[in-house]
């Protein structure tokens, strides 16, 4: 009877662990797959060692995709993390707080709408002739700014990134609101007594007191930027040409349009390495964050 008891905790965890196999097995499988040349329909896999990686590191499209992911990350950090913090700080200010629930709810709405719906909606807005964006620009007299946003290889990636910002600022702002609400009000009262103005208070209290959340927000945003798929896939399919390609869309195309599964697995490994590095930095920062 006592012996049987020993197994009890494992039995509770067994179903979860079985499911987690679906998360972990593919990770290792993918690394193995990247060492072969193979397609879905061919029965044989040809072992090629690191060849797929050598090809990848000489592939200009790979660098274009990576560059777009980096651009995504930089712009997203500026708009989502800085923008989100400012929005949260304003909404939590005591002069605004009375009306902030309605602002908060609306700002958060895009987060709950799926990116599929949002991307399809924005493809209407970006329509060169009848889209709202160009109509608006013409209305306010900026006729030369009315561009074919998604159809021009210079603007496509920015148009895609803009949609992500539109959706996600509210998310980060909400995280900051939760974090600001945990700051002791006495700190703000003391600053007010010292005669500090709003901007000073923001930099001397709000920013340092939400430092932990800033780390979280940066990590979330970075991970999001390096794994983004829906927005470019739906809005431009990575085009025109490869101008708005990101790693995930390139992975998808290589695997499911070109059926180069080994090569696609190598791209997936690169995504794995980037996201794991970000997570490692996160763990390291959190350790140091707890020491002080």
């Amino acid at each position: 009877m006592i012996k049987l008891d020993k197994f009890v905790p494992y039995l509770y965890l067994l179903p979860a662990l079985v499911f987690l196999l679906l998360v972990y097995i593919p990770i290792f499988q993918n690394i193995g797959d990247s060492l072969y040349n193979w397609s879905t329909f061919s029965p044989n896999k040809a072992f090629v060692g690191l060849d797929n990686y050598f090809t990848l590191f000489n592939d200009p499209v790979f660098y274009e995709a990576l560059k777009n992911n980096i651009l995504y990350a930089v712009i997203s950090i500026v708009f989502q993390v800085f923008g989100g913090l400012i929005v949260a700080a304003v909404l939590e200010d005591k002069l605004i707080r009375k009306f902030s629930p309605i602002f908060r709810t609306v700002y958060f709405l895009p987060v709950v709408v799926s990116m599929t719906v949002i991307a399809l909606l924005f493809s209407f807005f970006y329509n060169p002739e009848v889209g709202l964006l160009n109509q608006f620009l013409k209305m306010i007299g900026l006729n030369n700014l009315a561009l074919p946003w998604l159809g021009d290889s210079d603007t496509a990636i920015y148009a895609v990134i803009a949609v992500s910002q539109w959706q996600s600022i509210g998310y980060i702002a909400m995280l900051y609101i939760v974090s600001i609400q945990k700051i002791s009000p006495e700190l703000y009262e003391a600053a007010e007594m010292d005669g500090a103005n709003k901007i000073k208070t923001f930099f001397h209290i709000t920013v340092p007191e939400t430092k932990e959340m800033t780390f979280v927000a940066v990590i979330l945003t970075l991970t999001g930027a390096f794994t983004v798929f829906n927005e470019p896939y739906i809005l431009t399919g990575g085009g025109p040409g490869t101008s708005s390609e990101v790693l995930s869309t390139y992975l998808y195309k290589t695997a499911f349009s070109k059926d180069m599964m080994g090569y696609a697995s190598a791209i997936a490994t690169v995504i794995l390495i980037i996201t794991l590095l970000i997570s490692l930095v996160q763990m390291k920062i959190f350790k140091t964050g707890k020491e002080d």
């Binding site: 009890v8 905790p9 494992y10 509770y12 965890l13 179903p15 979860a16 662990l17 499911f19 987690l20 196999l21 679906l22 998360v23 972990y24 097995i25 593919p26 990770i27 499988q29 993918n30 304003v90 605004i96 609306v106 700002y107 958060f108 709405l109 709950v112 709408v113 799926s114 990116m115 599929t116 719906v117 909606l121 924005f122 209407f124 807005f125 709202l132 109509q135 539109w166 509210g170 909400m174 939760v178 959340m213 979280v216 991970t223 794994t227 798929f229 829906n230 739906i234 790693l247 995930s248 992975l251 998808y252 695997a255 499911f256 697995s265 997936a268 490994t269 995504i271 794995l272 996201t275």
Partner: protein, 268 residues
Amino acid sequence: MRVALVYAGLIAYFLVVAYPLLWMVISSFKSTEEIFNHSWSLPHTWLFENYVTAWNSGISSYFLNSVMVTGLTCILTVLVSALGAYGLSRFDFRGKAFILVICLGGLMLSPQVSLIPLYNIIQKLGIYNTHWALILPYVAYRIPLTILLIRAYFLSIPKELEEAARLDGCTNLGILFRIFIPMSKPILLTTTILTAYYTWNEFMFAIIFIDDDSLRTIPAGLMQFRDALQTDWGVLLSGLTISAAPIVILFLFMQKYFIRGIASGSVK
């Protein structure tokens, strides 16, 4: 003066966020011609039949598929996670720390990396092109966060309750279902909502693991819908509105739980 400026900023941002969504709903009642020529105005006549057309030309089946996949994913995720969280919070056993790390580690892995092997596994399991091809991976990817959130809550339940129940002859499973689960309703609700939100909106697996149009969930179905209805903007926008509505309504009613879940999920 400065306050006025801040309000102007807030209202400008409010409009930038609210107007596109409002435009979607308003334009879904217009004809394509009216959307092109009178983009900014209210519909001349409200074309409710756009919704009927959208519903009948595919949205109804996508919608029902999404309801089914979301429902099953939520039930399985929360049930399996509650069992696991109970195991992790109320027992001491060999390998506990390791299992906890495995659960935590799942949070860092992005689905893209698993896409190709998962595609093959799903084919080998013989569930490609069935709803299980979505449900099983969804549950797997939701378990790490859900276990951690439920476990944190279980840890806060006082040990005395458990001991008292045990004296009354309650079994382990009895304690879980009669004490832990009833006492944990807020966190179970939060995790259910988060799972529903993820499942209803998930796109990448949905376009790859299901091939048959009649089995597609809403996010994947909308792509099909767009390709079929390129020229009928009003109907297309009705489809988008129908697809977004359930989660938006859920959010408006359950804001507290939504925010709580998203906030605790990000910090942990």
